[in-house]
């Protein structure tokens, strides 16, 4: 059994799985149920001046008959009085001293507002603070959430104000609704953040109802943009984590958030530099009990890889994440069809024919059956055939022996040397 304990910027947790700030962490009742189920920590639903929420609030993106490939919400921060939340945090922390409780905070961008709320939540015994500079809907119209998080100066200044008052670690949660997330990550680090977390939700409109022509979701026939999350956003979140993890001037731990719903997703974020992960949509879809397999699966995986601690996994893939200009132009792979596994759906053929490089051809075997083969000299190794192939093992991408490595950047340098 590997050791799953983490120390995230000073916040200790018995495993790296935290519930992200959101509907599942709205009350003490929920957070305590989550801790009973095995979650290592929870980021309490964002505290601030209470708001009024609307109904309805959520919507799901279905794909191919599966529910919740993506998820979107127009719910705002907590709509319960601050005193009630603080009382429940105190009770929960007292009952679960070994679990991490992090308070998510969002107030107006004023120094005294930040000082005041930090003092009040630290007073009830939280293990850390997470500054919500991310929610893209509602609060942003009031100058908070992503409206703050999209302006590096505001991120830095508010982080600084928080740090002036805070005694516990401060995590800055970043919005993905920005061209370059490293700009705000850098600002947070400059402001003194102990850690960053990403991503908050992505601006989205889930859909339009084809019968009523209403937006999805709608509130009395009207709708607005909401925050997008769930499995579909994972690649976006992962790239943003990678961007920050590879920046030497963002030298703070990262808590990974975005579409994580099992130990495999979690392990990928950790390999790419996250040292804790946060989950929301998956818990909303399936309940808190999903954490059991996250813990068990991660444990088995670490054992299989011969790693004694989950911290040994963190960042192992970061050095493999590069700029495009650092990729080897001379490297070549080609597709190869394994006839033993091919089920003859011909999806690779039509995908290559219509959308790639027209190099998967029919031929007739000696026994008269029709089969497909790759004309390897024309294959560019794009992977499309192996992506659309439904039969595991039927298409392999084979590394070809190649010349000396040559990246675009190296090539440009050479040209300028010879040219100059």
């Amino acid at each position: 059994m590997a050791d799953l304990h983490i120390d995230f910027a000073g916040i200790k947790s018995k495993n790296p799985f935290w519930l992200a700030s959101g509907p599942p962490t709205n009350t003490g009742y929920q957070v305590q149920r989550a801790f009973d189920a095995g979650w290592g920590g929870a980021v309490w639903k964002t505290l601030g001046d209470p708001v009024i929420n609307v109904t309805s609030r959520f919507s799901g993106l279905n794909y191919g008959g599966q529910r919740v490939a993506g998820f979107n919400n127009i719910e705002l921060i907590t709509d319960r009085p601050l005193e009630v939340n603080l009382r429940e945090i105190r009770e929960t922390k007292r009952a679960y001293p070994d679990h991490a409780i992090i308070a998510s905070l969002m107030v107006e961008p004023k120094q005294e507002k930040w000082h005041e709320i930090v003092k009040r939540v630290e007073d009830v015994g939280v293990d850390g603070l997470e500054l919500n500079f991310g929610c893209p809907h509602g609060m942003a119209e009031r100058g908070m959430g992503s409206a703050s998080g999209q302006v590096p100066e505001l991120v830095e200044k508010q982080t600084y104000w928080t740090k002036e008052a805070a005694e516990t670690p401060v995590i800055v949660k970043l919005t993905p609704n920005i061209t370059d997330i490293t700009a705000t990550a850098y600002a947070a680090a400059q402001g003194g953040a102990d850690a960053i977390s990403m991503i908050n939700t992505i601006n989205s409109l889930m859909g339009v109802d084809l019968d009523t022509w209403n937006t999805i979701p709608n509130v009395a026939g009207k709708g607005t943009h909401g925050g997008y999350c769930g499995p579909a956003v994972k690649p976006i979140a992962l790239s943003m984590v990678a961007e920050c993890a590879t920046q030497p001037d963002i030298p703070v731990p990262i808590s990974g958030i975005g579409g994580i719903e099992n130990w495999q997703d979690a392990a990928e974020f950790m390999l790419m530099g996250a040292s804790s992960v946060q989950v929301c949509t998956a818990a909303m879809h399936h309940g808190f009990r999903i954490v059991e397999d996250m813990i068990d699966g991660l444990n088995n995986y670490l054992d299989e890889k011969g790693l004694a601690s989950v911290s040994d996994l963190v960042g192992r893939s970061v050095s493999k994440y590069k700029k495009w200009g650092d990729l080897d132009l001379n490297h070549k792979v080609v597709a190869r069809i394994n006839q033993d596994y091919c089920i003859h759906c011909n999806k690779c053929h039509i995908a290559c024919e219509d959308a790639a490089h027209q190099c998967i051809e029919f031929y007739t075997e000696s026994d008269g059956t029709r089969a497909l083969k790759v004309r390897e000299q024309d294959c560019v190794g794009c992977n499309l055939c192996s992506i659309v192939c439904p039969a595991e093992g039927a298409i392999d991408m084979i590394d070809q022996p190649s010349d000396v490595s040559m990246t675009w950047n190296e090539r440009q340098r050479l040209i300028s040397t010879f040219g100059g």
């Binding site: 008959g65 089920i343 003859h344 759906c345 011909n346 999806k347 039509i350 039969a391």
Partner: protein
């Protein structure tokens, strides 16, 4: 109708329920949408299976129904009676990877939608002034009529029965194929302006000459006739029935209690034998045995039909040859005396030849004997048309479906036989389509 009668009829309700909505979406989404799909090639009518299933997933049910019926005008029937495990589902690439897509059930779902919502899927073509007569309103005749109407022909179908649909209406048990399904398909064809004249027997109510003279082309789609005699003593006894007639009676709503509590023997092991046997069971027969002179391997019933019969409690007596039927003093059947059979070398049909074991006859006590040993041919009508034939199987050009009289075409069971093809509804539908195409190509030059 009193409750007993209602219940009696209920046992003839369609056995298989429609798929549940979630089941439909899960199954439809499982389809890989293969390119150049083997299911489509395996279907005799070449329904674009991946496309009709894709349309189910997008909620485009009208489009799904159009894709299916474009290829097969009797697709609601075929979705119920096709041996899908030998055709589309047997060819599904997922057979090797997991489980084949339930194509037949999905097709049935789409066709059920179509029957309920009745969209106008097709239009008659612009009238081209040519007239075609179709003799027989079974699947082959209806299919050719539908296609010809879409090409712009004025089509008249002559049907001797009171209702159109042929075997689909009269010859397949209602709990597998309710009559309303076949009649709905007939309605779709009528909507295209096809005139279907029922209770009209060509050669009797309408003269053959009138048909030959009054139309630019004639399609003979008369199918087959009743079950031939067994050629054994006792066939005239009370209690001996023809399977086709028995099913026809039930299909027409005549529920009788005369089989209630009786023992029955069905002779033969084809599709009709299964239908007759399961039908008798539902009519209350206490014990129903199928006797067949060859073995399980040679029977022509499909595996799904065999499974169904066994589920219904039908017993099978293989390698058993009826020798004579015995009766009591009142002329009622009391037993069938049978001889055991051993199977010898393969004969011309590729099946092992049955050889009777002498001196070992045994009686099977029974009240009812149902003959289901194939169907006869309407040779007199074929000869009245002066068409070349081989034992009632009309000779046609395999490409144009033209008979020895170039003006007369033939499709469906009337050309089935002598070891060629299978007498399936779906095959008849395809032949009807092809005949229509051939006629159109022949007459096009004259339009």
């Amino acid at each position: 109708m009193d409750s007993a009668a209602t219940n009696a009829w209920k046992i003839f309700d369609e056995v298989k329920p429609d798929m549940k909505p979630k089941e439909v979406m899960e199954e439809a989404n499982r389809c890989l949408f293969c390119f150049d799909a083997p299911c489509m090639k395996a279907c005799p009518t070449h329904i674009d299976v991946p496309l009709f299933i894709k349309k189910i997933t997008t909620g485009n049910m009208k489009g799904s129904a159009r894709i299916i019926m474009e290829a097969n005008p009797v697709a609601a029937t075929c979705a119920r009676v096709c041996p899908t495990e030998e055709l589309c589902e047997g060819a599904c690439v997922l057979n090797d990877a997991s489980l084949p897509i339930m194509i037949g059930d999905l097709q049935r779902h789409t066709m059920n939608w179509a029957m309920k919502n009745n969209p106008q899927l097709f239009e008659a073509g612009e009238q081209n002034g040519k007239r075609v007569a179709v003799i027989g309103a079974g699947p082959a005749g209806l299919s050719s009529a539908r296609e010809l109407a879409r090409y712009g022909y004025q089509v008249t179908v002559f049907e001797k029965q009171a209702e159109a649909g042929g075997l689909d209406t009269y010859g397949i048990v209602p709990f597998r194929l309710p009559k309303h399904v076949a009649l709905w398909e007939v309605e779709q064809i009528k909507k295209l302006g096809v005139s279907i004249q029922t209770n009209t027997e060509v050669g009797k109510d309408v003269s053959i000459q009138a048909v030959l003279d009054g139309f630019d082309a004639v399609i003979l789609a008369i199918g087959m006739a009743h079950v031939p005699p067994l050629g054994i003593p006792g066939e005239e006894l009370d209690g001996v029935f023809d399977a086709i007639q028995l099913i026809e009676r039930v299909k027409s709503g005549h529920v009788t209690d005369r089989f209630s509590g009786k023992k029955a023997v069905v002779i033969g092991a084809g599709n009709t034998a299964i239908d007759a046997a399961t039908c008798l069971k539902r009519l209350g027969a206490a014990r129903v045995q199928i006797v067949y002179r060859r073995s399980e391997k040679e029977m022509t019933a499909y595996p799904f039909e065999y499974r169904f019969a066994k589920e219904e409690g039908i017993e099978f007596r293989w390698q058993t040859q009826p020798k004579r039927i015995e009766g009591d003093e009142n002329g009622n059947v009391t037993s069938v005396v049978c001889a055991p059979i051993m199977l010898g070398e393969k004969d011309a049909s590729g099946r092992r030849r049955p050889i009777e074991i002498d001196n070992a006859p045994f009686p099977m006590n029974t009240d009812v004997v149902v003959k289901a040993i194939g169907q006869m041919r309407d040779v007199p009508l074929i000869e009245a048309f002066d068409l070349a034939h081989d034992h009632g199987v009309v000779a046609v050009d395999p490409l144009t479906y033209q008979t020895s009289n170039p003006k007369v075409y033939a499709a469906g069971d009337v050309i089935f036989g002598n070891g060629k093809g299978e007498a399936m509804v779906v095959a008849a539908a395809e032949q009807g389509k092809k005949t229509a195409q051939a006629i159109h190509e022949q007459l096009l030059s004259k339009i």
